[in-house]
Symmetry: C2
Subunit: 334 residues, 2 copies
Amino acid sequence: VKLSRLGEFGIIERIKNVLASQSSDVQISIGDDAAVFKTHSEYWTVITTDALVEGVHFDLSYTPVESLGWKLMAVNISDIAAMGGIPRTAVVSLALTENWTLKQIDLLYQGIAACCKQYNCDLIGGDTVRSNYSTFLSATITGEVEPECCAKRSGAKTGDLVCITGVLGRVMVGFRILSLSLNKKGRQKAVNHFLHPEPRVQEARILVKEVGINAMIDISDGLASEIEHICISSGKGCTIYGDKIPVAEDLKELSHSTNKPSFFEAIQSGEEYELLFTISEDNYQILKKKSIFKNGLISVIGTITDEAEGLNLFYNSKKISLPTQGWDHFKNNQ
Amino acid sequence: VKLSRLGEFGIIERIKNVLASQSSDVQISIGDDAAVFKTHSEYWTVITTDALVEGVHFDLSYTPVESLGWKLMAVNISDIAAMGGIPRTAVVSLALTENWTLKQIDLLYQGIAACCKQYNCDLIGGDTVRSNYSTFLSATITGEVEPECCAKRSGAKTGDLVCITGVLGRVMVGFRILSLSLNKKGRQKAVNHFLHPEPRVQEARILVKEVGINAMIDISDGLASEIEHICISSGKGCTIYGDKIPVAEDLKELSHSTNKPSFFEAIQSGEEYELLFTISEDNYQILKKKSIFKNGLISVIGTITDEAEGLNLFYNSKKISLPTQGWDHFKNNQ
């Protein structure tokens, strides 16, 4: 069955069936003019929106549609996490070409629903429309955060340690394996990381609520760019030690560059879903004692300096300039 | 200057400049991972999202981009109004082709900002990405509503009067004048209605707060379909008197149909931004005394009946079937 035969109201009926049970704060869900939910008065509301465009952000020839639905949610949930927030509700806007089959639409929504379920986010509304040329997916997620836990980009202080979660470049490895049809053997983890990225909501919550950090951002545009964002927003400089940045091991063998270490690709790799944050020395001691961070999840990669010091990157004991131009959707740089 | 030369961060800087001053409830706006705002604990949050796709919902050859920005907001604000809500915040997701000029992007955002300003809605975030084939615009609006004022589709009661605001078919007239390049002389009102539709937020607020209604919906898919939505959601039937439905006078001369009265086009015309609601006889007496409704803005077009009576439409004293298939984005029916 093609989308064109089902019609919009038929889709709404199907979506209703895919939806998991919703939290009791949801008053009105899909099927009215708008969705309605109760907010908790002690929290602030966090809201973010991100779009995925066919041919720019995804390629249906090697991305399963279920994974696409997951990623649409994950990219937005990661932004909520970066503010220190808890995801609450999601609405999606899908513009699908007439080639989409009912089965594919179901799988897309299953991916959306699975990610929402994992992060306790209620899918409460949306709009499904026709597109003539290519597929567009957009989602908006609301979350909530205690005012004192809200993590801005602009809070970095001189002397802060600069930290990241996880390993960089895994998304890029997964992307190359799938897009170049490489052998997946032994690389399933990287493929999974590309297809089902897991935003660091839990880690972020512990950082803002139990540890205390000064600035945070998620790695959407590449680590180098995100460091620049934090420094500019905070009116600070930084010194980053490139050798301390953990890089996915198999990125090296899949590197596109022959004359530069894979490290440079890793720090420009976007949509890595890891967190970059700055934290005082004192609070870093608290962080180290948290069991969730005892497995080497956090790497200290540098320090925040006064603005006059500028942005400094050292690699193999040499000072090099920070390649801050990460992934830009309007430049063909991937 | 083309979009491809400016880059995403350049766009964000420009958007910041276009933004009007924001309410004090906005804590963090464009330029962080997500936007943050305070909600009022006595209200519920209303959220809606709607997308506009080039070639499906709009044609840039006759739609000024400033009007496009306005409409993107208006279609969503109308959904908030239909719930009885007050618009609060907006986020937009724009996928633009490389052909967009900076001037056009500024005008698009000026239209977005102008509509937000008129309805006291804070534009607090968004995502601007590249599209290879066509333009895709999506917006999400949050609003707030007192729990006792929230207007569902499902509240219609037997004996309720069925009412609509305004005159139907004006959007269709404006659309035909522009799309067929007809003479605008004497028809500027219809053209304005198409380019700068004004959702009925104020009227809806008075209806839910000072009058009291039982069910409400905005006319997105055509009056006939909306009546069906209310009746199905409420488990009711209805009797509609077609002769009582006000139809735009110039629709008749622009009619595409030669053998059917323009009335039939009017009740299938979508995106009319008018409200359809059901109200008890008693509350209708209260409504009549409100000054805002004294200018003939409200028409009583029928009554709600028990479900077993079905959906009945009378026109020129003849019973005819309700043409409930309005505008469906997946069927080429406009």
